[in-house]
Symmetry: C2
Subunit: 100 residues, 2 copies
DNA sequence: TGGATAGATTGAAGTTTGTCAATGTATTTA
DNA sequence: TAAATACATTGACAAACTTCAATCTATCCA
């Protein structure tokens, strides 16, 4: 599970509009209701997406497993930030279509 | 249907191992049982994937709708080739995470 | 013209996914 | 210590997806 995500797994994680929106929100990183300067907490995403808390948690796990975000627990909160690992896997997979 | 594919649609099309394998096969473009020099025909993919003919056809439609391949009918055959449109949509979506 | 071939479409079965309500766990604060 | 808060987990359900067998359509060839 914490092994290197496959390209298919990364693309699958990216293949949902809600998750893409969450990812963009985390990338902007401009709102945090809990603690600032350390990333976005789940409650920010819950409020911005309008989804239920378990659904947000579910999506964040998928993004995290795909290496697209990092999750850091700080006290009562978990802060999420972009992780380049997944993006690199995706970009490499696309590039390799043209360099066999 | 022929409207611009959304990033989510492109990523979803890429999020299946069978389709990624087909895409790589089309990119290599080194085998064609039907006519040469014009791309890969569906029967090539059927043989290389081991999937049934309708399943191959289904996957190719998803890749085509996502702007990842082109489909050109020549006589009795349809030849498939890489299409940069979908890749561009995917790459741009990833890049824009870092340039808001 | 009739048979054969490439591929698309339809219909159905089994699996996966997205979602929420209910509940559990860890941490902070009163 | 008790209540509150942030998040994860479980269970359930509908929708979407993957796959195949059967059938249909279009094209080529004898």
């Amino acid at each position: 599970m914490s092994a290197d995500p496959t390209p298919a797994e990364v693309f699958r994680a990216l293949g949902d509009q809600q998750r893409l929106t969450m990812l963009a929100f985390i990338a902007r990183n401009d709102v945090s209701c809990c603690v600032t300067q350390h990333g976005v907490c789940a409650c920010d995403l819950q409020r911005s997406s309008g989804l239920s808390q378990p659904t947000v948690s579910h999506h964040l796990k998928i993004l995290s497993d795909a290496g697209l975000i990092t999750a850091t627990k700080r006290g009562r909160w978990v802060h999420y930030a972009l992780n380049r690992t997944g993006q690199g896997i995706a970009r490499t997979a696309l590039e390799q279509l043209h360099t066999p």
